[in-house]
Structure formats: structure tokens, C-alpha cells
Symmetry: C2
Subunit: 577 residues, 2 copies
């Protein structure tokens, strides 16, 4: 018994033990190929997203080694590819460029604390079982945010593509124009070459290969190796023609070679931890929400399920691991996960293989990475990010639901105009406010009796019997601070002009909770109605509500108003009075 | 026709026209007496609450003249006494003592802008018809906030009561002790005398007078003149014994005499307006919420109604008026309104009379006010505020509803530990989060058919027929981003281990809205179930939901799953398949 329990405990917290037990040779075949392809993608992405975040290249590479390995042990998704991702990278860039944060320490130090703090926040959320709260980042807000962040990413890459030595605009929409005369045409040439090569390796090449009956995962493999190819070719061009020396083409520059060293030196600075807390929360929550969304896509395709709470643990641990090994914040990447999946990955073994290959690359080829032109990396980012800008999505959302469309548009504009964190906070606030507004108008019906039955129906929709001295009002929702004023107003309107009225019965058949604000308001209603010589009664009160009313002095206040078991009892007793 | 419409328009926006039309001599009798009593209360309160806010005395007196007069024309409450109030005063004190705000200008300038900005915010809320949003300040949050603010007010008066020359602690709990040796025992004597006089004029005197069959409103009049009496007596003591000169007893000091001058000079400074915006919003919203709550209490007692949106207009205009006439932010005061009401006020004429008397006092007796000892004012504040500290309320709320009790306690502790604005923001956030958590778990039931009927009931509670290949699931709430994940998880659990299952029917009889997040999730559910060879169907879809589904590609995705008009149709068609 005990060993079985231990077993299920291990299975729950270490999902690797589940799939490893039934691991087959076919699984390994799929995983090896997918692992190679994902590793090919991880190298340029690791370096590019570090650049996007404003960090040295090795910070992105280190984030691609230990964190995905940790996730492989703890994660419930079998195909999610954890590592540096573009949205988190632009959020990191935005956080690190704030003056008060820059004053605290070097960008690398701040980035590491950001990751560690984010990891701890996710673990805390797991402990408090708060995974469900991220539901409140609604689909329109997430969509508007993603489009807005993608536009910011594209704008941030323009200086790299044009070879402008320094982008004085930072993250944001402004001031392009003045310094465009500094354009470096050699860099522009490299950018255009990279973009064209990347585009031609996409759909056109896939279609061509399909016509030659090449296997689907091989097509994926070839077309997804374009980024690495672009980087190899442009790096060779840089070295052969000495482009940095003679033509001022920017390259990645110094990279620490070798595997990351485990360090705990970042833990001590309390001031940094405090100042970075808001940004760390935003990055962590967004990383989690996007990762779970991506994990669910591939899990649905293979009839697997994702455990949101275990994902908090896995992603929290992965972010702690990235901090300890000198990397930036990590999440599940959409494009990389889809590549991993379509290249045939069956389990997280694919990611473990990718990590192994990447470690070898970092150990032996770091020297070569230093000559990669930034323009090629910017092109890789540009082509990867462009599909994330979905402006037509806003129109589709608007057509379906106006207030959701507005929330999506405002989030997007908020991200562009106010900044990344402010934009998403604004979007969440708007969604919650409009949700509260909607739920503050519950369904209430004045009901009457269907002749010769014990059924009661809405007097507006059915032919029913009503009474001169008696009104029956059915409340179709739980009563809380959010809707109690609407309910009271409704009752006061119904009872306002009816001078014959002596009894109001509230039918509580759908009410299973009354919070304390609503409770006070209902007590006041008793008094208000008594002042008009009207008695309030209740009918069909559910068990838990009844218990609460009995515990307090509500029933004495209600008296001589009564609580009836069935609505029909109330009608029999009150309709003739 | 047109004149009638104009008439109703005027009645709506100028409620004074309604009661003035039917004004009687009895009304006047009641109003004159109540007006005198309220004026007697307004003088010490105006000076005391200005002191509480850290402002010169005339700022409180000016706030007691034009604003109540404006409210008399625009307000829908006939007995609300608008003017300076303690809770707003402590909020102003807290806002004005922030270093960044102190740097912007003099306290008086900042206080005037705070009032003007608050007034504009209330008018804007009126224009957007956002009165309902203040419902989201729930009863426990308001109660916790009021207790917390009252404790802060009491703490802030201790230095005045003890005659400590300067309170280095500001608003907050700290550092009392070190400088207690500076206690001025003459001041302490004045404080104790004032407190005892105020206490003896309360219940003991009322009971005594009642025994002599004195009329109820005369009793109110006598017992409520205690604050003025305290101030007159202590001021005489100050003057006779030259207490400030010989014994360092603090007095009010310089007061500008004469009526307020209308000035618009505060409008220009954009930087001040921007910095004060958050505090102005908090003060305005709290002033509004408390005023409406108080107005409702007396309206309920006399079968009158309050129009929340018109109250936004009236209180917004009153706060603009206070700014133009050099006063501090205003609201309806609880104790003053109750005094006004129990002294026999029938209409706002009582407040107009009070304003007239106060104007005379300000014109001719301002000189005398300068010698009022601060200790007496602090005693007036102390006795007025003490009943607002309701710690036992937290226990009562906790007993009724644990999460409401926690919200009340956290708001109170938040106000004490973090500050007034932070405390209430925390309380509102906690209430909304716990509300969202609760609504994110909607009621869902697996249902079966009651034999030989067309009725379907919960299989857990009734003896019903079920089927091998078919499951019916009834969702009892609107589907939105807040609850869709719970619903999807429920459905996936129900369908997870049933290998015979071929059809799932969702019964939408209670669903009248599906937002776009929920819509996307339901589309994904179709795919997930199809991957398990299960078809999704819908039944009893309401008109508006049906329209939305038809406008999109939902029905094509659902196909070959269908939408059935009645649940019984679905059962007939699917139960044998």
C-alpha cells in the first residue's frame, strides 16, 4: 500500500517516471530526430533572444541547457520546448531598461534575479494552488498583448537590420527618422539576404519537397534548419570579407565558452529583489500562461492532458534553474514546440537530446558564435515574430463580442503606448470590470402560477395566475455585493407603485450563497418594505443558506414574514390574505 | 408636452424643485430647528476636521458654506448634511503628507486641487453612468476601512490631547513613547474636561431630560450642542487664564475672517493635477460611497429614494464648489446627518438655514475662533469618531462568512500598516479576487431522464435513466473566461474514462452569454472530443447564443455534432446510436 502511494506521489511530481516506464524504440527514433532539429533551432534562438532582451549571448544559451532538462523531469507536457522565448525576452528588455532598475546592478545580474524571483513566484502559486487565477487573463487580452508585444519586438529589431549603431528609441514607438542617414548598407544587404533565405525555406521549399514525396518530418527538419543555415552563411561572409573591420557591420562579439557555472551569488541583494518584484511577477505569469496554452495545443492533438498546477512547479523550477546557471527567464516557446512536435517528438527525451547537443555546441563552438552578424539574428527574430501580429484577430473578436473586441484593442494599444506591463495590466483590469458589470445584472423574474399545477413561470412569457396582494419574485443567481443593489432596485421598482401589495415572496431556488454585503442589504430591505406595510417572505431556501439565516437574527427581523418550504405553500397561505 | 418634458428634466437634475413645490409651514418649523442645531455642530466640526486634515481652520469653514448650499439644490437626499467629514479629512491628511505632493505647493493649494479633481471625477462617473461600479466596494471592505481610518484618526489626535508640541509620527502607528515626557498637563486638563463634558451630554443627559418629558427633538438639540459648549467654555478658559501665553497650550491661531472668495487660480498647474490624481480618485470615491450609504439610511426611514447617479452629480458639483471657494473636499457626514434628521429636518431647507447661520458666524465671530484650544477640538473629534471603530463587526462578519471576515480584517490591517489608500485598494482587490474565484466554479450537473416524462434531473439526486453511449451535461451559468476552464475540466473528467461514450450533449438552458474566450475553448473542446471519437452536441440553445454560433464557423466545426431544440430530441436521436 505504502509503496503504491509513494509511486503515485512520484508519478505526480515527476511525470518523467510515467513515460520512461513504457519508453519504446519507436519513441527513441522520433525523439532523436526531433531533438536534433530542436537543437538546430535552439542555437540561433538562444543567441537572438538574449540580444532581444539586451543581454550577452551566453545568457540565452545557458537558459537553453539546464531549464529544459529540469522541465523534462517535472513537466506534464511531453513536447513543450522550454527555453528563451521572444515575448519574455521583450518583457525582460523593457524591465531592465527602467532607470531605477538599471541603477541597481548590471543587466545580467538583474536578469538572473528576475528569473529567480519569477521561479519562486510560480512555486508559491503552486503551493497556494493559484493556477486557476491565470484564467483571468482572458483570450482577448492575451491576443492583444501578444500582437502588441510582437510589434514592439519588430520595431526593436529595425536598428539591427539597418545597421544603425545605437537605437535611441528604446522599446517603444518614436523618433525613427532623424538618424536614418546612418544606415549601413552592408548590414542591410546581409539582412535582406537572411530574410529572403528564411522566407524561401518556409512554404515554397516545403511545397517543393512535398511534390518529391519527401517524408513529412524530414521536410520539417530541412525547412526549420533555415535559421542555422542563415547564421552559418552570414558568419562565413563576415569572416571572409572582414565586414566588421572594414564596413562596421555589428557582430555578437565576446561569448563565454564552456558550460554554465552554478552560482548562488545573486541571492543576497534584497533591494534588487524588491525593485524587480513587479516585473518578475508579470514575466512569470505571462511565461506560465503562454506555456500552458502551448502545452495544451500539442496535448490535445495527442489525447494527453496537462496538469496546470504541476506546470507551475515545473516552470517555477526551470526558472530557478536558469537563474542558478546564469541564464535568462524561460518559458515554453510556441514555434519551437510546434517544430519539436512536427519533427516527431514523442516525449521530453527529445529535449534532453537537444540539450546534450547544445551543450556540446557551447563547449566547442562558442568561439565561432562571436562572429555572427546581429543583422542575421534580427532577421531570424523578425521572421519568427511576424506571424504573432494578428490585427485581423481584433476584428474577428469584435464581430463576435463587442466588449471583448474593445478589450483586445485597448490591450494592444496599451502595450504600444504605455508599455508592456502597463498594457497587460490595463487589459486585465478592463476585462474584470466588464465582467463584474455583466454579472452585476443577474436574471430576476416575477413569476405566477400555471393554473391547476404547482409550477411557476415568468409572467412576461407565460399565461399565469397572479394575485392582488402578493408578488412572487424568483432570483436566478447567488446574491453578492456585485449584484445585490440591482436586485434591491428591481424589488423596489416592482413594489413601488402597487398600493394593494401586502406580501412579497422571494424564491431562492437558485440561490446557494449570500455574502455578508448582500445579507445586510436584504435585512435593510425587510425594514424598507415594512415601512410601506409590505411583508417580505422567502421560499425554497436551500440548506446552506437556511443555516446561515438561522445562525443570525435574520429570521427575527423577517418576522412576521416567513420562510416557506415550497412556493406553492406561500401562495396558499398568502394569496387570500 | 414640451413644457412637461422640461419640467421633468428640471425635477430630475434639480430635486429642490420637487420638495419646494409642496413646502409647508410644518416643514419650515422642523427645518428651522434642525438648521440651528446643525449649524451649532458645523462650527466645531468645520474647524476640527480642517485641523485633522492638517489645514488652516477657514478651509474647513469654507467647505461648510457653498458645498451644502449647492447640494441642497442638486441632491436627492433631503436630510444629508454635506460638508467636511472625518474620513475624507484623514485621507486628505495622508495624501498631503506624501513628500512628492508636499513638494508641489502649499497644503491649502493641494487640498483645493484635490477637491476640484475629485469633483470632476464624480461628474465624469455620472456622465459615464458608472455609479454602479462603486457597488464593488463591498460592505466588509467599507467596514474594515472605516474602523481602520477611525483608529488612525484617534491616534492622530493623541498629541493634541496631550499637548505634545509636534507629532513626529505622522499618520501611522509608531514612535509614541520617547517624547511623552513633554506632556503639557494644562492641555491634558482641558482635554479631560472636554471629554467628560461631551460624554455627560450624551446618553446620561438625554435619559435625564426624557424623564422630565422634554420633547425628543429638544433633547437632540441640547445634547448635540455639547461640542459648541465645550469649545465656548474652553475658549473662555484660554482667554481668562492666558493659557497659551503662560502655559504653552496650543490654540487654533490665525483665521481669515469674512466669507470665502471665489477663485480659479488653482486650475493652471498640470503637474499638481497629475500627481494628485490617484489620491483625488480615492477621496472622491470614498466620499461618494459613504454619502450614498448615509443618504440611504435616512431615506429608508422616510420612504424616500436616493438616485445614485444624481448623487454623483450633486457631490461632484459640491466638491467643485468647495474648490472654487477655498475649501477642502466634502461628503455627507454620518453623525451630522443623523443629528439633522433627528432634530426634525424635513428638507434641505434645514441645511440652507444652517449655511446662513454659519456664514454669519464666519463673518462676525472668526476673531473668537482663533482662541479655541486644539485640545478641545481633538476631544470633539475623539468622541465623534470612537463609535466608528467596530472591531466586533469583524467577528460578526467572520461568523457569517469566513472570506468576508478575512477581507474586512485585511482591509483594516492594511489601512493601519500600509496606509489609507493602500488599505482600501488591498481590500477591494481581495474582494474581487475571491468573488472571481467563487464564480469560476459554476454549477454543472450530469442529468438523466425521469422515466416516461420529458423532464431531466441531476443523476446524483434523482432516480433517472442514463445511457451507455450518451452523456447529458447541464451548465447552469453563463460561460465566460472566468469559468470556462472549470467547465472544460468537468467535461473532460466525465468523458475521460468512459470508453463506450460516443455522444456528449451540453444543455444550454441557462446559458444566455458566451464570451470569446469561452467560445474559443468550446471550439477546442470539439476537437479534443473528436480525437477521442466522441461527438459534441448542444441542446436548448437560447436565441442570442444561437445567433452568435451561426455568425461564426462554430456549427461547421461541431458537425456532424448537432444543435437540438429540446433535450428530449437529442435523447431520441442519440441514445440508440
Amino acid at each position: 500500500m505504502i509503496s503504491q502511494q509513494t509511486g503515485s506521489w512520484i508519478n505526480k511530481y515527476f511525470p518523467i517516471t510515467i513515460w520512461l516506464k513504457s519508453y519504446t524504440k519507436e519513441d527513441l527514433n522520433g525523439d532523436v530526430f526531433a531533438g536534433i532539429i530542436t537543437a538546430i533551432l535552439l542555437v540561433p534562438q538562444g543567441i537572438a533572444y538574449a540580444m532581444l532582451a539586451g543581454l550577452p549571448a551566453q545568457v540565452g544559451l545557458y537558459a537553453s541547457i539546464l531549464p529544459p532538462a529540469i522541465y523534462a523531469f517535472l513537466g506534464t507536457s511531453r513536447t513543450l520546448s522550454v527555453g528563451p522565448v521572444s515575448i519574455a525576452a521583450i518583457m525582460i528588455a523593457s524591465a531592465l531598461s527602467a532607470p531605477d532598475i538599471m541603477a541597481l546592478g548590471s543587466p545580467v545580474e538583474n536578469a538572473i534575479i528576475l528569473a529567480a524571483e519569477g521561479g519562486l513566484i510560480l512555486l508559491l502559486m503552486a503551493a497556494l494552488r493559484m493556477g486557476g487565477l491565470v484564467n483571468f487573463i482572458s483570450h482577448p487580452v492575451l491576443a492583444g498583448f501578444t500582437s502588441g508585444a510582437a510589434i514592439l519586438i519588430i520595431l526593436s529589431q529595425i536598428p539591427h537590420l539597418l545597421g544603425l549603431s545605437k537605437n535611441p528609441c528604446g522599446v517603444g514607438l518614436a523618433c525613427y527618422g532623424d538618424y536614418l542617414q546612418q544606415i549601413n548598407w552592408f548590414t542591410v544587404g546581409l539582412s535582406l539576404f537572411s530574410i529572403m533565405l528564411l522566407l524561401s525555406f518556409g512554404l515554397p521549399l516545403s511545397r517543393l519537397l512535398k511534390r518529391f514525396d519527401v517524408k513529412k518530418n524530414i521536410i520539417t527538419g530541412i525547412s526549420k534548419s533555415a535559421p542555422l543555415l542563415v547564421i552559418i552563411i552570414t558568419t562565413i561572409l563576415v569572416k571572409v570579407y572582414l565586414l566588421p573591420e572594414y564596413h562596421q557591420v555589428s557582430i555578437v562579439g565576446e561569448i563565454q565558452s564552456g558550460l554554465p557555472k552554478i552560482s548562488f551569488s545573486f541571492i543576497s541583494n534584497a533591494e534588487q529583489w524588491k525593485t524587480l518584484l513587479p516585473s518578475a511577477s508579470f514575466v512569470a505569469v505571462i511565461a506560465y500562461v503562454e506555456s500552458v496554452a502551448i502545452a495544451k495545443v500539442t496535448a490535445n492533438l495527442t489525447n494527453k492532458t496537462i496538469d496546470p498546477n504541476q506546470e507551475l512547479i515545473a516552470l517555477g523550477a526551470a526558472n530557478l534553474a536558469t537563474a542558478f546557471s546564469g541564464g535568462m527567464s524561460v518559458a515554453g516557446g510556441f514555434s519551437r514546440t510546434m517544430v519539436n512536435f512536427s519533427a516527431g517528438a514523442r516525449t521530453q527525451m527529445a529535449m534532453l537530446i537537444a540539450v546534450l547537443l547544445l551543450s556540446i555546441a557551447v563547449m566547442f563552438f562558442a568561439e565561432q558564435f562571436t562572429s555572427i552578424p546581429k543583422a542575421a539574428l534580427a532577421a531570424v527574430i523578425l521572421i519568427a515574430i511576424f506571424p504573432l501580429v494578428k490585427l485581423r484577430g481584433i476584428i474577428a473578436t469584435w464581430k463576435y463580442d463587442k466588449s471583448d473586441g474593445i478589450a483586445e484593442l485597448i490591450t494592444l494599444l496599451g502595450v504600444l503606448a504605455l508599455g508592456i506591463e502597463e498594457g497587460i495590466a490595463l487589459g486585465v483590469a478592463i476585462t474584470i470590470v466588464s465582467y463584474l458589470r455583466r454579472t452585476s445584472r443577474p436574471h430576476i423574474a416575477v413569476v405566477g402560477q400555471i393554473k391547476d399545477t404547482e409550477h411557476f413561470r415568468n409572467i412576461k412569457r407565460h399565461q399565469v395566475e397572479t394575485w392582488k396582494h402578493l408578488v412572487l419574485i424568483r432570483i436566478d443567481e447567488n446574491i453578492s455585493f456585485a449584484n445585490v443593489n440591482y436586485i434591491i432596485d428591481f424589488i423596489e421598482n416592482e413594489t413601488g407603485n402597487n398600493l394593494d401589495l401586502k406580501h412579497v415572496v422571494l424564491i431562492f431556488s437558485s440561490v446557494s450563497h449570500i455574502d455578508s454585503t448582500a445579507f445586510e442589504a436584504l435585512k435593510n430591505l425587510i425594514t424598507t418594505l415594512k415601512n410601506k406595510n409590505i411583508l417580505l417572505h422567502l421560499a425554497e431556501v436551500k440548506g446552506p443558506v437556511n443555516d446561515k439565516l438561522r445562525e443570525t437574527n435574520f429570521l427575527e427581523q423577517l418576522s412576521p414574514g416567513q420562510v416557506y418550504f415550497q412556493t406553492v405553500d406561500a401562495v396558499e397561505s398568502l394569496s387570500k390574505k
